[in-house]
Symmetry: D2
Subunit: 379 residues, 4 copies
């Protein structure tokens, strides 16, 4: 794996490296960790890379690695830069025969995402997207419950992602994460909705298997001087008649990273909280609620495959993230070995999820500008 | 107190009687418990009432009681009938000099509510409404925190009231509670929104002290053959710029009576769940969350006054309900004794809350019929 | 009902009155609320009693009431005084033909309790004891689960009752509740163990139906100058081979009234917390945990009979307390009407529980003085 | 790192490898994964090791690695075998100049542990022990709170570790983990107490900084035919006067891995649950409870250093485990580089903890055989 971005001081790059390390199946062999070549080399040294494989730009990296012998060069790139630098390295990598694993959102805007989808299709290369919350074992259990019909036809979805870290104008303090996330030039058309609202959308569609047909969004920028939305409340209508609510916020003081989802069908309901991800509440008509926990024998094959520890040894965010890396790597390996991948290994977010996310962002922003008028998602 | 409705087999009548009993300050002296005079007498006997004060109709009761000497006749009526029989006894009681305590919603429609408000004003009599959830000590603490500025200017409110008991067509089974609640002739223009959505609205406005200015509502009837909404998702805009989400449901399988509220200001946030009403979560920027519990010395005067037991002797629904009765009775007593009531005793829902609730219902229904267009609340 | 103790400023007296009021089946007709006759009359006036039925002493009350005609005089006395004044009025009432409902512990020491048991037997009168925690609906459900064999043979019990209110020397401040509870002359041989340890013991034996055979107790007085234990850790051995741990504390800073119990059998386990009494966790081998909640249709007859509200309208401490009053009153009524009581109404703590509690206290104290040597409970 | 044990089918070996991988600071370079040389090579191949560094025995590994040049050979061994094979490889490694990281308990019995302590002292080599629960960030926060005096003098500790996985005679089914853990020849003198009771003991002493002085233990074997204890209830007395309760169980049906601790001082208390390790409850006299959460700015330096992700990205068991590896590796690195280690890196369990754990086990077993007589811990 070659990494784009993620040098010293970055947050998500470290998460990606841990996720890649956990299972001992992926080796970081090179990187363009920073647009400053010296800093890139320094960062690479932290990871025990030789200086000659610490590149100043992703263009340089892709060209140099391509020139290496097949067994030596990187197999895929991992993109961990701010949003506006997702598309360019992804495109270049695909055009030069490298698989791509990218942080979300897939691109800066929907047009880029569609172009990328075309390239993935054309090249036949693999593309993974770290919508990491779908990597949790019990999210997979939730999906399995819906897909096997245990809950009956789905009627209602409530998905929410409140955070509080941007309740003040943190970006004015020079905080790096706040800086680019609130900057339309680097973040894209949406702030809160792009950064975390897409995770909520992705989670809802992943679990239910239903697509959001149209939405009505009330976006707000509460913090004075901020250029992008920091709060959004959205009504959802799904294909097939289910209804829903999605709300996301960066100004909900005291909330950490409180991604939650509730899904109700005709026969049962379920509830999951990212904060305590090893518990899934399952609700029934006229029967006591059940508390599913990771790593127990009663779980589905999909949930079992996503765990690494026995019951009540809690797994967390990094393991969920690692599940995407593990499946992506297993898929690459199957490809390299010319065999059919295990269907369980195909369970990671792909370019279609990326396109969907960008279409969601554009629809929310359009609806928001239009006084929350109903707006279709066009993907 | 004289009771209208609440004979054998009724649910909410029993709750009102317990609420009235708890503090030993209110005596049930008569009732028109059923439109069937025999049944009314039988019910009255259950409560140790003499047959001559068990009436066949509320008209009869009001007339007969009025004819009794001042020290003997009832002081107020308690109305515990289905929605369409809230207004008539309230009106007649006021016109004949009796105070009124009514179950919610105040009336069948907004016009009736406004007429009732006029009567209350004109007669100078007292009118209380059992929006019982505002009777909980920690709801009062929450309100106090907002009003004393601890949370800063309010930005966002999320209030929700999912239930699951009407996920199937229970009304077709002859279940009495389901029957009238899903019948437009007895329930009014809204189903779920009228029955429980109004509680959510009332709670949000009570705690924040902010009025909802306009709303966009997506109403659904999921259960085939049902005539009223059984699910509603609503975007809220408050006076002063706060935003919010309100959702209520009767088809959220496995949910009991899950009224929850979260409020976020510029400096802090709070979260309260009716299911565990003796806990209030208080959230801060950069400080650990605090867990407020009933009956502790650190609570506000308002919260302290609403409790009856020491810490961790949990109080519940009936005590919250009883707080409305207790304050209402104390207010009547002050009136009878010609003195100023203790300001703490004025803290119970009044006709203004009733009008507000009916205006909310009408706005939601109008918005719902209009594809969730923004609709002002006119009260 | 005539009350002994519970005048102005008392805590538990108010709880008893609310518990008696809730269901409208019991009327407070007289009282000896204070050893100061003037204060007794003042207190009685608060409850709308005529002065002539507010007595200066319980002796006076029992004599005067006995002299009244049968339909007029009190049916039973309710004893809400400190521990050293439990036995005398109970004895006198029984000797004069009155039923007795007493706060716990039954008496000051085991000898008194045994004498009282003899009197109850001899007179054939009814005696109830407010070990109120067994009044909760889900405690009854827990008991039903054990008794119907759902959990299999019981192996282990963990019961705990930490409080923190006496972590400092509160009794030195003049606080009334702390005063008598830490005074060996009024409280008895044990402090913490007598006040709350007995509740834990009673709860464990009630739910499991097993008797503690012997125990090893390590008692401590942490607060300097205090005369009685304020913390106790106890190993338990039950008849039939089950083992257990009981710990109680008044110096566990920050704990409110945190009575908890866990019971494990060969097939299943259960867990209940008084702090959130409407939830019962039920655990299984190889199956997800279930969350039982009050007022649902799946509950046992015993649990259902102990509730007053529909699901998720939380009931609390006062309702649990009231269940003892309700059953006791129903038993008296059956006796007055010369009919067999409903077996459900016999479910309230009796003199046998009182004797058992006193024997537990004496065993704990003896073991504690004996460096935690194993000590049998002799009852 | 060279691994002893942990071949295909082992549980804890995989955990150790992930823990070593996570931070990219440790490389697995060789192993004696199985006593079957072929199996050892197969397992090594799973980890991309060359066959010549997959050894058939730890003796062979230590000899062969010692013969390699300094920059090539392993720096330390990681021991992940059943208990009876902890001491021999540890001893041999130390005698041959290799640092040792071992799974717990340190040895098979106390005598071995003391011998090992002597060897560590004599060689000056590093020895780490994976009492992994002390690796959690909030356990470190708890310790910091005690050590900085925030809770005042400690009075009471309640530590518990219930599991339910051995509620039936699982070892009879051939399940490997159950097999050796219930076999006195491989597990040692204690079953439940050795496997998990020691974790509880270690956690209590780590957080409080207090040593258990004496204990009284009631041990039971509930499952017929089992040779070691599967349940234990223990009274604790700490140096300095604090009291405590420790109970551990493998037959508490439905419990997963429910390690919990509560500590109460004169001024405050705290509560931590391994099941939800990112939350620490902090309790105060007369103030609301606070909820500390990982990764927030208000945490101590020690807790902050132990985290890898931002707030509400839950970390779990593997990360806590990895913290021991990370600190141990950093300590080795400092040693290799001849510099003082960062004091934060010294925070991992050492041979003293191992001796202490073995002394605890022996005291518990002795007390258990002696009808729970008070027994000192001799370490």
């Amino acid at each position: 794996m070659g990494m784009v971005g993620g040098g010293r001081g970055a947050f998500i790059g470290a998460v990606h490296r841990i996720a890649a390390n956990i299972d001992g199946q992926i080796e970081l062999v090179c990187g363009a960790f920073s647009s400053d070549p010296g800093r890139s080399k320094e960062s690479g040294a932290d990871f025990y890379l030789p200086p000659n494989r610490c590149y100043g730009t992703f263009e340089e990296m892709i060209a140099a690695e391509k020139a290496l012998p097949a067994g030596e060069r990187m197999d895929f790139i991992s993109i961990v830069t701010p949003n506006h630098v997702h598309f360019p390295p992804a495109k270049l990598a695909l055009e030069n025969g490298f698989h791509v694993l990218s942080d979300k959102p897939a691109t800066f805007d929907l047009a880029e995402a569609k172009e990328l989808a075309g390239l993935v299709k054309k090249t036949g290369l693999l593309y993974g997207l770290t919508h990491n919350y779908t990597g949790y074992p019990l999210v997979k259990e939730a999906r399995d419950m819906v897909h096997t019909g245990k809950l009956g036809k789905i009627r209602k979805v409530v998905v929410e992602y409140p955070q509080g870290w941007l309740a003040t104008r943190l970006e004015a303090s020079g905080q790096k994460q706040a800086g680019w996330r609130t900057d339309p030039k680097r973040s894209g058309a949406a702030g809160c909705i792009g950064d975390i609202g897409t995770h909520a959308e992705n989670l809802a569609e992943y679990i239910t298997g239903l697509k959001i047909k149209e939405l009505a969004a009330d976006l707000t920028t509460f913090v004075e001087g901020r250029l992008l939305d920091d709060d959004g409340n959205v009504l959802l209508r799904f294909e097939g008649g289910a209804k829903g609510v999605l709300h996301a916020s960066q100004i909900s003081v005291g909330e950490e990273n409180n991604l939650n989802i509730r899904v109700y069908g005709e026969k049962g309901g379920l509830e999951w909280h990212q904060k305590e991800p090893n518990t899934l509440l399952v609700k029934w008509l006229d029967q006591p609620m059940q508390v599913y926990r990771t790593a127990n024998g009663y779980l589905s094959k999909a949930a079992a495959a996503a765990g690494r520890t026995p019951p009540a040894h809690p797994e967390g965010y990094l393991e969920a993230f690692a599940n995407i890396y593990r499946n992506f790597a297993a898929h690459i390996r199957a490809t390299l070995e010319n065999r059919q991948p295990d269907p369980l290994h195909l369970d990671y977010p792909k370019i279609e999820d990326g396109v969907r996310g960008m279409a969601f962002i554009e629809a929310v922003v359009r609806s928001g500008h239009n006084n929350a008028a109903w707006t279709p998602i066009e993907s």
